[in-house]
Structures are given as C-alpha cells and as structure tokens.
C-alpha cells in the first residue's frame, strides 16, 4: 500500500531525472522532399524533422491490455469523417486489422502520401489534410504516383530505419505549391472468419506542416520520402 506521496519524502533525485532537453531520442522521423524541373533536373531538396503522429496512429499502436483492462474502445476517424470504435481482442468475432491469407482477403495497405496546400495547428486531432491537392492534371492538381514501400528495414550499426516514398507530377499548366503532407493508410477491420470487413476507410496516421512551402513548376515533379528510424 502506498502511504505517502513523493512530496512528503526527502528522496535522492538523480541528475538524470530532469528533462534538460538534450537527451538523445530513440526514435526520429524525417521528411525529405526532392523537387525536379520539367527536364528532370533536381532544383531543390527540402529536409525537416517530421513531428506528428495523429490520434489515429496512437490508437492503432495501443496494446490489447489497454482495451482488455479499460473495456474502452478507441475512436478511429477516417479522412471522410466516418468513425470506427476500434477494440481489438483475441476472439473470432472481434474485428482487428486484416492480414493476408488464402481465404477471404480485405487488404489493409498504404493508400498514399497525401499532399495539400493548407495547414492546421493541432496534428494530434487531425484526421484529414486541411486542403488536399487532388490527383489529376487540372488547375492546382498533381498526378499521384504509387507509394513505394520498403521490403525490409535497413540496419546501420545500432540504428535502423525504413523509408516510404511517392512521386507527384505536375501537369496542371501552372505552379503548384505544397504546404502540408500526411500518410494515409487504407485499413480494413474484420473478425477471424469474416467474409467482409466490418469497417474500411482511409486513415490519416501521420501529418506534417512543411517548414517552408514547396513549389513545383509545370512539367516538374516532386518526390516525398518519409524516413522512420530508431536509435539515430
């Protein structure tokens, strides 16, 4: 039984107990953006730290114990605003993230790195980009390529990382400017003997506002690399 609070006790506080802002983080995420002109020549490389998992990401990372002990679900919100009460469990009737199999498949996969021309200040509560740039060749649009996913983790000494990337072409006839970026995963949740998912949707799991706007001239392209690393 805990009798007294910490404030009542003369305890020995080690120096490393305080956050002095100089600790080496064990995880980092980076954004690298390469802009090319209409001849394919690199005209700009932008790099910045990536900061922001969304609430969707935090909820999806939670272990079963959270749901088992609290009895709570976590509300996943799609980019379209629909919601799903995520509450995984070891039970054939409970819906969890789908996994490839030889029976009934309803794939969960990265839908896209999405780019936008707006910005919003609270990434945690963000479930969609402020002003998504549409896929197309109309005014203000970009042609979305397919996202590229890694086949493995790259190990370098005691650190490891993987990178997700996607290229966008500007066939709009004018310059297009990007100010926000996010990762959207298409997730489907189902039971262990379902023939159809209980919920499907595009889920924004990571979001960043760029530290400076990126402009892509007509005929040019931009490739966005998200790199996630441990022990950098």
């Amino acid at each position: 039984m805990v009798g007294k609070g910490i404030e009542d006790i003369d305890i020995n506080m080690p120096k490393d107990a305080y956050d002095i802002g100089k600790d080496t983080p064990t995880f980092r995420a980076y954004l690298t953006i390469v802009v090319r002109d209409s001849e394919g020549k690199v005209v700009k490389v932008h790099r910045q730290k990536s900061h922001s998992p969304t609430a969707n990401f935090i909820g999806l990372m939670l272990p079963l114990t959270y749901f088992n002990v609290t009895g709570s679900s976590f509300t996943i919100k799609s980019t379209g605003g629909s919601t799903y009460n995520y509450k995984p469990a070891i039970s054939p009737t409970i819906q969890c993230i789908s996994y490839p199999n030889s029976g009934y498949n309803y794939p969960s996969y990265i839908a896209m790195i999405q780019v936008g021309s707006g910005q919003q200040s609270n990434p945690y509560s963000t479930y969609s980009l402020a002003a998504p740039i549409a896929n197309g060749s109309g005014t203000g649009q970009l042609v979305y390529g397919q996202p590229s996913i890694p086949s493995n983790i790259t190990v370098s000494g005691s650190s490891a990382y993987f990178t997700v990337s996607q290229t966008f072409n500007n066939n709009s006839g004018g310059t297009v400017t990007i100010t926000e970026v996010g990762i959207v995963t298409y997730l489907q949740f189902g039971g262990a003997y379902s023939t159809s998912p209980g919920f499907s949707g595009n889920i924004l799991v990571w979001y960043d506002v760029l530290s400076s706007a990126i402009s892509i001239s007509n005929g040019g392209s931009v490739t966005i690399y998200y790199t996630f690393t441990v022990n950098p």
């Binding site: 805990v2 995880f27 922001s52 935090i58 996994y99 490839p100 199999n101 990434p123 993987f162 262990a192």
Partner: protein
C-alpha cells in the same frame, strides 16, 4: 531546414538516410520511472531516466499503422518488414479470413547486456513469483494522452531479501487469428534499457515502473 539547391542525383540517396537535423524538436521522447516503497508504503526512491534503446521490432510494429499489412490493394501478400523482421507468414493458410493484433508487457531483470537491434530478451529476467530473487508482478496498466502511451507495472517483493532491478524492457506478443479460432503468436523485445543506478526493492516492499512513450508533435 532547406539544403542547398541543385543537389546531384547521387546525393539524394544519402539525404534520405537518417542523420541529425539540429535545432528542431525531437519527434519522440521516452522515459522510464521507478518509485520504490518500503513495507509501510513510504516512498524510498524515485528514479527517472530517458529510454535510449528501441529495437528493430518496435520499428516493424509501428510500420503496421503506417503502411498496413498488405503489399497493395490487389497484392494478398504481407509487407516485407513483417515477414523479414517479425517472421510473420507472407500469407496465412486459412479457409476463412485472418487478422492481427498485439499486446505489450514490461519485463524486469537483474543482469546487463550490450544493446543490439535484434535483442530477444533480458540478460537475467526476474521471474514472477515469491521465491528467492523473484518479484510478484501485478497487471500492466496502459493509458494514453495526446501523442503519448504510458505503461505502468507494479511489483511486490514478498521475499525476505532486497531485490535489485538493473534492466528493463518492453516485450510484445503479436497474434494472428484465422480459421475462426486458431491463434499464432510471435514474441519480441521492443525496447531494452539498463538503469543508470540499480533500483532496489526492499523485503516486503514494492515498486512501480512506468514507461512513457511520447511522440512530441
């Protein structure tokens, strides 16, 4: 941060490899806290230190919400990270459907070992029990706040001797469910740290270990 313009093509591959971009906030901070109480419930020791060592399995686990489990909309094969790092099957043989979930635990130990990305366990795990050198593990508590996940574990020392805790790790069990009731399990170590000073749990005392994983937006 914007690097100089007109970077050559061969430099691009180097740029996407992680390095430090100074003067910006870190993406992630993690802390380990330990509070030790004597048999009367008085707080004897408070210890807090940064977590330093995530394994490749943590990176693989977080790839699931980031890139999903399938290689694509029409490719019914698991992404390479899940098969190559976690050892999951590329496709489960099932006449029905399949899904995936995971659970975590905090484990304590009395040894030390050098960190590696592929560590699978603690050097000298302290067993759950009431025998000599053992601690009685309570249930793991999990909560979250904006951008942070908090794990907390209470242990009791019912023995007549002090037990020193020198290492701590987060373990993970991944479950795949298929064919209605079949479950396969895969176990990993997500993090490993040694304490800068040992945490000593006195006879008939108890301790609370808390790990905070904070994604600082």
């Amino acid at each position: 941060m914007v690097t100089p313009d007109l970077v050559s093509e061969e430099d691009i591959a180097k740029l996407i490899i992680p390095d430090d971009l100074p003067d910006e906030h870190p993406t992630f901070k993690a802390y380990i806290e330990a509070k030790v109480y004597d048999k009367e419930g008085h707080l004897m020791q408070y210890h807090r230190q940064p977590m330093r060592s995530l394994t490749q399995y943590f990176l693989a686990l977080m790839s699931i919400p980031l890139i999903g489990t399938y290689q694509g909309a029409s490719i019914d094969q698991a992404v390479g990270i899940l098969t190559s790092v976690l050892g999951l099957p590329s496709s489960i043989s099932s006449s029905q459907s399949a899904n995936i979930s995971w659970d975590w635990a905090i484990r304590l130990g009395s040894g030390t070992q050098a960190f590696s990305l592929s560590l699978t366990g603690l050097a000298a795990p302290i067993l759950n029990g009431t025998g000599a050198g053992e601690l009685s593990y309570g249930s793991l508590s999990v909560s979250y706040t904006n951008s942070a996940i908090i794990l907390s574990l209470q242990v009791s020392n019912t023995t007549s001797n002090t037990i020193s805790v020198t290492e701590i790790g987060i373990t993970c069990t991944v479950y795949t469910q298929y064919n209605q009731t079949t479950v396969s399990t895969y176990s990993f170590l997500l993090s490993y740290d040694t304490f800068s000073t040992a945490v000593s749990v006195p006879a008939l005392g108890m301790a609370v270990f808390q790990i905070t994983l904070s994604f600082t937006g």
